[in-house]
């Protein structure tokens, strides 16, 4: 930073901090009649949402929660989660979105590590809680959540699993309407959640009000200003990425800012998802490839009109095979790029007017790139010595990033935090190239690159090619130790139902020869071992779990 003339403060002037409450304030100004829907159980407009958020703040205050306290939440994707996204940080408290897909031991670890003082728990998770509650160290209060309180015949809900201070809807009903959300430092801790690293305990990532505000602004600029995708206030939004995971990629904040209709699906049951998609006229979602694959493969998908559905894929690579299958169903699919530590969006595919005129096959090349740098995100490539590489679409190096919405690091892990940030750049652990058109292409994770015979082979590239082989539904490629070559590619393949008995390793290898002949790969890129499996192991947030695959293949 250089020295400049900094504007002196006028004593009585108000210096607007960038707080999440400023996002909330927009939600009732322009289209407050739009709805927020929870499954077929609950619906309200934005005026009611605001009222409920104020009531929630009063209810939490009544339970002794105040600035600096951490509120843990274990729920399915719901309007309640959305209410907590606002009420908790706007009070000056911290929302800990508990990853319910972790093991009970890991959930316990995160609750204690985050120092939660209150837990809001859906009754579906009470068995987990019961198992760990004696080891929870900081929680003073429990609030019960249930879906049985909605509908025509609401039931009274209680539990003996924990001593609950009340049930969520009841607490809201009893609370006062008006809560004055206070002003405070924009660098105040707003949210935290835990990522499952490849080794050791989950790591706590955390974001400030300013960071979440700027992430929301970055996405509004991109989706509305540049019409990426586009996602506008006229869309109907339904996340299919858990709200506990990076705030469902931050889109609930964007949707609320824009007063777009929002639909929350609870847990991800395919019939419920497809039903909501159609009855609520959902036009915009985001999910990991697995979910899209599940929907694309479902027989119902072919019988319904999905041509108004725009989907951003992230978490794992969108293969050409899956992208093509989705496009053929009319789904407007493209990829985005991000990670927990980056709030998460860093890039999203953005087709300009010319590119939208291209034939499907050529569009695929863009749609399956990691994306084009989002506004206010700066990406660069570095080699192993930390030298910056050119943005020529050729040079390959680790992707490093900056933007106003990146985490400062991992909670209570100063060493890992410093490792994440090196020389002022956040190190993504991804290997990729950058084009002069600001498009990013990811070739692999730094640790998943297969080093064979002195060459670096991208496991993602191989997955991409394998996904195009007829009969292949899903695929994962990992490098396995090899005495002669250092490492050799191994593949796990999930065959499509109709190809269950037809697909063989030999057939796949034969078809891979095509890509050898067309020059896309060299002969020794073809995996040595191809195993057929019913499922690809995934992490708690739906990414291919290559660590587990490597262990499984070793045993």
């Amino acid at each position: 930073m250089i020295e400049t003339k900094v504007i002196p403060r006028t004593e009585s002037a108000y210096d607007s901090p960038l707080l999440i409450k400023n996002i909330l304030a927009q939600s009732v100004r322009y289209n407050p009649e739009r709805e927020i829907v929870y499954r077929d159980l609950f619906r309200m407009n934005y005026l009611t949402l605001n009222q409920r958020i104020h009531r929630l703040a009063n209810a939490l205050t009544g339970l002794g929660i105040g600035p600096g306290d951490t509120v843990g939440m274990l729920d399915w994707d719901s309007h309640r989660y959305l209410e907590c996204f606002f009420a908790v940080p706007c009070m000056g408290a911290i929302l800990h979105t508990v990853n319910v897909r972790l093991s009970p031991a890991q959930i316990l670890y995160t609750i204690n590590h985050a120092e939660d003082t209150i837990l809001l728990v859906h009754e579906d998770f009470l068995p987990i809680l019961e198992a760990i509650k004696d080891q929870i160290t900081t929680v003073r209060t429990y609030v019960l959540i249930s879906d049985r309180v909605y509908g025509d015949a609401p039931e009274a809900v209680t539990t003996t699993a924990v001593e609950a201070a009340g049930e969520y809807e009841q607490l809201l009903a009893e609370a006062a309407d008006a809560f004055e959300f206070p002003d405070f430092d924009e660098n105040t801790w707003a949210t935290s959640f835990y990522t499952t690293g490849t080794t050791g305990n989950p790591k706590g990532v955390y974001f400030s009000h300013r960071q979440l505000f700027m992430h929301t602004m970055g996405l509004v600029s991109y989706f509305c200003g540049f019409e990426a995708l586009p996602f506008s206030h006229r869309d109907v939004y339904m996340p299919i990425t858990p709200m506990f995971h990076v705030h469902a990629w931050g889109f609930p904040y964007v949707a609320t800012m824009l007063n777009a209709k929002q639909v929350y699906p609870g847990r991800y049951e395919p019939p419920m998802l497809l039903n909501l998609l159609l009855t609520e006229k959902v036009t915009f979602s985001h999910c990991v490839p697995t979910i899209l694959n599940m929907l694309v493969q479902s027989p119902v998908a072919k019988q319904v009109d999905l041509s108004n559905w725009k989907v951003i894929i992230g978490g794992s690579a969108l293969t050409r095979g899956l992208a093509q299958a989705a496009l053929e169903l009319g789904i407007n699919v493209s990829q985005g790029y991000g990670m927990s530590e980056t709030a998460p969006v860093m890039a999203v595919v953005h087709l300009n007017e010319e590119q939208l005129q291209l034939p499907l096959e050529e569009q695929l090349a863009y749609r399956t790139k990691a994306g084009k740098m989002a506004p206010f995100v700066e990406l660069r490539l570095v080699d192993e010595q930390g030298t910056f590489l050119p943005h020529d679409g050729q040079a390959t190096g680790e992707v490093v990033a900056r933007s106003p919405w990146m985490t400062q690091g991992y909670f209570k892990e100063p060493e890992n935090s410093e490792k994440l940030w090196e020389n002022g750049w956040l190190h993504t652990g991804d290997v990729g190239s950058l084009g002069p058109d600001y498009y990013l292409t990811i070739s692999d994770r730094v640790k998943d690159v297969i080093k064979t015979g002195g060459e670096w082979v991208s496991s993602l590239d191989l997955e991409n090619l394998l996904s195009q082989v007829e009969g292949v539904a899903e695929v994962a490629v990992v490098g396995m130790p090899d005495a002669r070559w250092g490492e050799r590619p191994n593949a796990l393949v999930v065959p499509k139902p109709d190809f269950q008995d037809l697909l063989t390793a030999e057939l796949i290898k034969q078809q891979m020869q095509r890509f050898v002949e067309s020059g896309e790969i060299k002969p020794w890129y073809i995996p040595d071992r191809i195993l057929f499996v019913p499922d690809i192991p995934k992490t708690s947030v739906g990414k291919i779990d290559k660590k587990k695959i490597r262990v499984d293949l070793t045993i």
Copy 2:
């Protein structure tokens, strides 16, 4: 501000400051082929704009300009101005946009008061400069600007008026392409300009990088996110509000961020404006009522298609009469609200889908309101005791404001700065009401309200009604001292050309009786004196100069 848990800084993490260079960085990512046009003299795309901004920074550095220096600019609205909007603040220097409509003595005052160290001067303003140059205290260097260097037969330009270090285009041609814009505190002083107060010397208003960044984000959210107006990257933008005045209301920053095509008209000659409107297919402009009135009254306007032209009116009130005349020509006209001290936008008319279906007459009621609160702007009403009044569309009080883009005050005027900000709210000096729909209606300036017989009469309301009288082209109403009633309304009227000899004070008073009969006004609101004038006195930025009118009427 309350105490909260503030996120600790990781030492090696990069803490992105909100700088104007981040806006510039977007301008080449998405639609860099779009053009920036200066009259019929010069055109370039965004790649060239970026290159020229980098060259300008190198050229200025070569002239000894660095962080903290103030660069004064005297030019017509041009691509050069746009280049300075970015190059100067992004270097860490301060851009002083000199109000060339002030008197030479006032221009001298502002140059010395702002402590300009370099002046970039269009040759049209050399006569002014020559008259004052001996009294300029801080300027070390002069750069000459001329339009004669463009086109097929460019001329070499020199001057004897000042000792110039060079000519703008020549300096750019000689400068290197690459300039690394540094990082610095986001509260760094970016721009300053002078407003003409009603008393004393012009007052210097100033904005930081963060403030201009947030103003740009606020407008992108409003115009793209909520489709106010709307103004998108597909529009063709031409300001008709001087770039020296609040950065042409900040829209050049918005247009550049969005990569929209931009057209700069130089000085405001009606044939040139209309010609550019049509040949460059301009779709979005903003101006004061006078300019719109001039265009609406011009005979050419009736012969051309203006139905793709969206216009925001600000500076003075958009009367129903003018709004109707513009709408009848197909112009999509609505009002905005702001002031120099607020960067400037605080509100813009925003018709939602229902309102856009209303008949023209009913839309007029919305389009002539001051506007609906822009995102991140908070407006309130206070009475003379400083008590907040309800937002019921009825209560009337002084409008006070907050947002992340309001000036800290006036340069070197701590007392006036503290007066502008009282109890943490910026006092606009405007009297108005706020509806529960977030619409603001301005009834008058605090100092222009006419206090007659114990009642407060809005001079703006009277102007609005008078503007609807047949044959009235323009009107101004002021309160003049009256022994019996305290004050009485007086009106200046500019008749339409065809009504030059037909319109009389008696006729107007008779027609005003209509509004008495319909209950809109009381009989004693009808102005005592109605004078016919060829022009309404205006300030240097095109507002009705009521101070001058009062003086003129007294003499």
